[in-house]
Amino acid sequence: MSEQEIVTDVVIIGAGPVGLFAVFELGLLDIKCHLIDILDKPGGQCAELYPEKPIYDIPAFPEISGQELTDNLLKQAEPFGPTYHYNRMVNELEKQDKGDYLVKTDAGETFRCKVVVIAAGGGSFQPKRPPVPNIEDYENTSVFYAVRKMDDFRDHDIVIVGGGDSALDWTLNLAPLAKSLTLVHRRDSFRAHTDSVNKMRALVEEGKINFELGQIASLEGENGQISAVNIKNADGEKSLPATRLMPFFGLTMKLGPVANWGLNLHENLIEVDTEKFATSEEGIFAIGDINYYPGKLKLILSGFHEAALMAQAAKKIIHPDEKVVFQYTTSSTKLQKKLGVK
């Protein structure tokens, strides 16, 4: 066992609502979890796509926002001390002797566990790639979807595309160190915070940055290095000298490495049974939007149900010699003790 190996009972891939509730259901059965998510926060789609949108079909909540639901689930999972690992993607899953799994992330960690629960929703969130010819040839050399080191942008001719908070925040952050900076957006209206928009307009006013209406049409450059971004708008085409481009069109989901783990799939969804929500591989379960079974409904409430049944089956793998007595949190002092009820 290498020293970087993190040993736990269960690794849950995806910290969306269903992954979070799985912590609760597994926790009641004395099972410890680590969760891994590609986003920088818990909540999955609820937090990334619609934190402020009301959801009306969570039992006992006539109306609750994506963020409130996430916060409540975190609170509910809290007594079980889960460990969250954000900003990383699970890219490998290896079965070991004795039924252990090694789960490896793109951040370099290795987890050793008995059970893997895939609660990855629609897959991992990735930046949307604009449909510009050959853009992939420049990615991570002169086209970036995130800033890892600000210094990589110093003294560059930067073009930022988009009208949301990411586009505006990076416009404001990079303006002082850029050789030149141009913000390109399809309209003269922004959904970013008003304060950021005002600051951006002031910089344009002072001549420190440029703003262009339009969208990217093509790129010029060679060997991974762009030299110009051509944009198109109502007036036609325009070429902007550029050595760095940052497109910000938000995130979208992609199944990703899950497809390579040898699980039986049904049109990009993982096939499971409806007793245990087990996949075709012993010890690997799939719950929530990412699974498929006849009659499946992609509802958060279905995912909650799946988490509860999965936990019972996971218990038998993790603690095979323990007899499980089914109990209610309302009446069981044992369960209440686990929950920290005083």
Partner: protein, 110 residues
């Protein structure tokens, strides 16, 4: 009532639509490829369609919320709409749209 949907290969499909259904739901229900990952909450911009110019004026204008989400569409055009925001009604019988590349279920990611 019917809508006409041109897929990514340029093939037009005549789909039966029901009053009150979202165009996105009609497209999805008939099994044409559309990502629509947020399920119709106007929160992801992956049900993007191009509306036939003859029909553009017959649709209600996009709400501020829809306009905001169209900012998240990398291949936006003047006739871009989110199909989850178009509700079917008698007046839209015969509506023609085409599926945008950014609404493909396996749309490009970086």
């Amino acid at each position: 009532m019917h809508i006409y949907v041109t897929d990514h290969n340029g093939k037009e499909h005549e789909l039966e639509a029901l009053e009150g259904w979202r165009v996105m739901e009609v497209i999805r229900d008939w099994g044409l490829p559309i990502k629509a990952e947020c399920g119709g909450a106007c929160a992801c911009a992956t049900c993007h369609v191009f509306v036939d110019p003859d029909w553009q004026d017959k649709l209600h204008a996009a709400s501020d919320e829809e306009e905001d989400m169209l900012d998240m569409v990398p291949d936006v055009e003047d006739n871009s709409r989110l199909s989850c925001q178009i509700l079917m009604s008698e007046e839209l019988d015969g509506l023609k749209v085409s599926l945008a590349p950014s609404a493909k279920p396996d749309a490009e990611v970086a």
